[in-house]
Amino acid sequence: MRLMAEGLSAKRGEDLIFNDISFVLDASDALVVTGPNGSGKSTLLRVLAGLLHPESGYLKLENCPPEIGRPSEVSHYLGHRNAMKRELTVAENLSFWQRFMGDSPGGTGVAPAEAVAAVGLPDIAHLPFGYLSAGQQRRMAMAKLIVAYRPIWILDEPTAALDAGADRLFADLVKAHLGRGGIVIAATHQPLGLDRTKDLQMTGFEHLAGDHWHDA
């Protein structure tokens, strides 16, 4: 499994956020995207997750099973929001995502109960999601990553609302995933505590790309 990005660039509205970004990620590689606020980290991750059409450049998956159309079909995306319903209990949320997403070829997800234990909150799976604190909710969102197997993980500031203990726990999860030959792309400020990672420094605002409106 190899993820290749060539000359990616993306626009938000009229502004060009980043230009000509390329990288290659092999199995058990980790890419940490750093950069000041508003430098396009989240935009890049949304492009990688297929949620935003890149203005130019392309994203390709190599030596992966043929029926995979877009890289986004085999990737998890953990954004700022937790994608969990407040009224449903944690167990219902997790089992829904497990049945809805299903497993990508080459791996199987763990049972919700096991996933909740893996993030260190085994006994509150029956509570409605709205009752949990921000840190607990973030951990449950991470539990969603292992409920359904996806080789590529795209994480947007995963450790935002987490305390030190949870950080270490999350780093173990990521290490375990990399150990199984997965790929991780994380946009974060604090170091993830991983040893071998590739780095991508986002420079930020390129220039106003909507030039055809105000150009000569």
């Binding site: 938000r12 509205g13 949304r46 997750a49 297929g50 949620l51 935003l52 995979i68 159309g69 986004s72 079909e73 990737s75 995306y77 954004g79 700022h80 929001r81 937790n82 994608a83 969990m84 319903k85 407040r86 009224e87 449903l88 219902e92 089992s95 829904f96 995502w97 049945r99 809805f100 997403m101």
Partner: protein, 219 residues
């Protein structure tokens, strides 16, 4: 897909869900009409089917903007866009769940309100049948409006303005089918068949346009 259907169903029945609001709004609208129109029964029985249909149309328009807005607010819309299963199917299942949660209760509430309108059994039966066939069409068109207005702050009001002109044929054929059933000369079947055709037509156009709109609206 079935998981999504039952989850949405569970969600709309749970506390925050929109199921009850639609039916209550439908009842209040229909209950208020006689106060405006006056209590004479034969007038009410003549306009009964039309009032029921207009009430059902407005009630289903009411709950529509929450269709995608809730998903977008908590981030699950992003995950749905990424999945391998075509977005079209996901939108279709969400519409079916929304219809089951809000449309179906309207159909079950209509006989009770039919009595309010002093409608004959035949008219109540015909209204229920046409509502059963017609309300899914409104949900499917409404899905397009909801998808278009998903990224707008006050999208809710816009949905009904955008969708009303498109829902007029459904209203026309629904009510004309009921009147055809009541007055003998006019045949009941043709308007009903056309109504079914419109529902099937929107069952295709709705999800296709809504999926395209969602894909473009995700910034």
């Amino acid at each position: 897909m079935i998981a999504l259907f039952f989850r949405d169903l569970k969600l709309s029945i749970r506390a925050g869900g929109g199921a009850m609001i639609g039916v209550l709004f439908f009842m209040t609208v229909v209950a208020v009409i006689p106060f405006g129109v006056g209590p004479d029964l034969n007038l009410l029985s003549r306009i009964g089917p039309a009032i029921l249909w207009i009430g059902a149309l407005l009630a289903s328009l009411l709950g529509l903007d929450r269709l995608f807005q809730a998903e977008r607010d908590d981030g699950s819309l992003d995950l749905m866009l990424m999945q391998e299963t075509p977005l079209l199917l996901t939108v279709f299942v969400k519409c079916a769940a929304h219809w089951a949660a809000t449309g179906l209760p309207l159909v079950f509430a209509s006989p009770l309100l039919g009595l309010f309108m002093n409608m004959s059994e035949l008219a109540i039966g015909a209204t229920m049948m046409t509502l059963l066939i017609g309300t899914p069409a409104i949900t499917f068109i409404g899905a397009v409006g909801a998808a278009v207005a998903v990224s707008l702050p006050r999208g809710g009001l816009l949905v009904s303005i955008l969708i009303l002109p498109l829902a007029i044929p459904v209203l026309i054929f629904g009510v004309s089918a009921v009147y055809a059933a009541i007055e003998d000369p006019a045949p009941f079947l043709p308007p009903l068949m056309i109504l079914t055709a419109i529902t099937l037509f929107f069952a295709v156009i709705g999800p296709v346009a809504a999926a395209a709109a969602l894909r473009h609206a995700s910034d």
